[in-house]
Amino acid sequence: MFFYYDGVNNANKLSEPPSDDRNITKRWSELGKEHKLDLVVCIAAALRRGIKDELLAEGFRISGLGQLIESGVQCDRQIVFGD
């Protein structure tokens, strides 16, 4: 999973939605743990939005845009979800 543009906000561990609503960040961490997913956050987009390494929720890691291109080269299928 590669988080870019505003998608980096999914990785913010300070996110605190109301308790009766979905906690997307927490769901990503759980999904990542359950299926051993690599949750990669783009460093440039993250820093731009104030998401630093120490603010990443469990299971996320920071890397460069190169990782996105590399996965495009290596994977069979690539899907983009965004705003």
Partner: protein, 131 residues
């Protein structure tokens, strides 16, 4: 370029990548972030294509003076693409026409193609990343 992991040149896989630019510059950050992706992709020796459709054509319009809005202009980066071997730039004719522009208004050499040719080109790609 600093900070980029070395590409895995041993795999030898070359895919057709297309970056589709549809957004106008400066009003949102997304156009810049697509450009950052394009620059990074240059290091991976893939077959990179850049398409400009809809408001994306405004990104390469000549004469952008961004001093007063205190933002970095896109133009030097686009002009430098050739040096990174990103040379396949396509602009959709209908998008230019709708905006009262021609190829002469653009800051870099591009191939102007019509909508149906653009559709076929997009369809031929292995990986498409849109902004």
């Amino acid at each position: 370029m600093p900070g980029i992991d070395e590409p895995d040149s041993e795999s030898g896989v070359i895919k057709k990548f297309m970056f589709v630019n549809r957004k106008a510059p400066y009003g949102t950050i997304y156009a810049l972030e697509v450009l950052e992706m394009v620059l990074i992709s240059a290091a991976f020796e893939q077959d990179v294509h850049l398409a400009f459709v809809d408001d994306g054509v405004y990104q390469i319009k000549k004469g952008q003076d961004t001093k007063s809005i205190e933002m970095k202009s896109f133009l030097p980066t686009y002009r430098a693409l050739e040096g990174y071997d990103v040379e396949k730039l396509y602009v959709e004719k209908e998008s230019l026409d709708e905006r009262g522009l021609t190829a002469d208004d653009l800051v870099v050499p591009v191939e102007v193609i019509d909508r149906s040719a653009m559709a076929e080109l997009i369809n031929s790609m292995d990986v498409v990343l849109s902004g």
